[in-house]
Symmetry: D2
Subunit: 149 residues, 4 copies
């Protein structure tokens, strides 16, 4: 694991994750699919933290844009059991004109070690589903969270 | 349990249910919430069996109606484990002018015993979310499945 | 709707519910299945509020008991959209020797009106899956929340 | 997109995917998280096709192994709506002594075009959660599906 993977790059928003009864596999370990749900919760809370209600960002008919997810990945280092809690650090890994890549660091809430690490890219599209630049109000709000280059 | 609960009343549509990896609780038993998802799968397959694609029924903007679920309940008699399969019998318990109640009998696919029993009521609404009569094409298609009265 | 349905009977635990991106149906309205997940979150938070970690209650091998859900129902009065929030009041509707019935009142977080109302019954079982009395430590902790009779 | 991404490498198992009512985002498009569930369904069906019941593979206490998912990723090329169906081709991208990487090609069931493409790696662990070689019976069964090298 490269150093960049072990800690969020720069500023991040921390989101507490409680493992719920329906989040595990039949053996009591958090199902890998649940982490991708947690990632989306993380994006929602990140936007909310920026003062941008997520329901006006993922799709906005008046402003004529949408922000679908174009790709996502996650690596799972340690099993997490029902009854355990996580801290999710949501950061911006890369911001391009038309796309934004989030980083997700999942830490065990008590032990503090990294248990999973993922990323997801959202792209900006217009009403015609063609790619366009990210909405200005999103770009401005993101600035304090952009990674140093 | 009354007799009516042990078997579907009259004609029914049988839907095979494979318990999936994410459907259980942390102890490997099917999570009660999953049964309600199975019930909705059952309604979708029931409509499909009637020749009515479900995506044109739950909401239909051209014809100006929607069929939201107004209530649902389920009783759970026996635990089902990951690796087991179910047979779901979907029937009509009651058809009113403006509402339709489905019955769901979940049988163990191999043993054949009843493991859960539920029902769900959908109501017809117009574009204004006010109640209206069920669409005619649904009422006609349902006729062979109506319970004897 | 009877009066008892409009407000929780006596003492309750309030749980905030944020509607998540994956919780809706294809038309943006909270999927009825999601309410049952919220009900289980409610039970988990109720137990936590009582000082009883839920992971030691739903199944406890050392103490030799489990608390599976034997039945659940919910009625849905108004549509809730992605971007809206709910307040869930979790109360005890009935406590018997071997079973416990929870009540769930879902209120719109801002408007305050009741949007859905449900209940779920958990039963106590032993290691042999036969019914037994509720664990004493649960009964004691519940006392302040028991309905007046 | 490299050629290898557009079609499954060599032999594959085809799994039909019906988009369910709870699988979409609030705008009616399949939620990216649902694809990861479909990937796991694909692995389950792949194992079943090989004559290996999945419930005896993801964890097997008698034989002393488990096969957790160590990483997964997926790219999403086109939106899929409620009412559409997919064909999922599940193939083996790489088989190592202690790990197995599956490829997932999602095609639109009617149009036939590639709408999403993912992969997931499972690793073999012993009862102590340390890595070990894949069980022999899995390795033998996989042979017809191994990619040419």
């Amino acid at each position: 694991m490269e150093p960049s993977k072990k800690t969020p790059p720069g500023k991040f928003v921390e989101v507490p994750i409680t493992v719920r009864f329906g989040d595990t596999d039949p053996y009591g370990v958090v199902y890998f699919v649940s982490y991708f749900r947690y990632c989306h919760h993380g994006i929602e809370e990140f936007f909310r933290h920026l003062g941008l209600p997520p329901q006006g960002l993922f799709r906005n008919q008046e402003e004529g844009f949408g922000l679908p997810i174009a790709g996502a990945s996650c690596d799972f280092y340690k099993p997490i059991w029902y009854g355990e809690s996580l801290k999710l650090a949501v950061s911006i890994l890369q911001a391009k004109d038309k796309a934004l890549t989030f980083g997700f660091h999942f830490f065990h809430a008590e032990r503090g070690d990294l248990v999973a690490h993922g990323q997801a890219t959202i792209v900006a599209i217009g009403a015609d589903w063609r790619s366009r630049t990210l909405p200005d109000r999103l770009r401005y709000a993101l600035e304090p969270y952009l990674p140093l280059t």
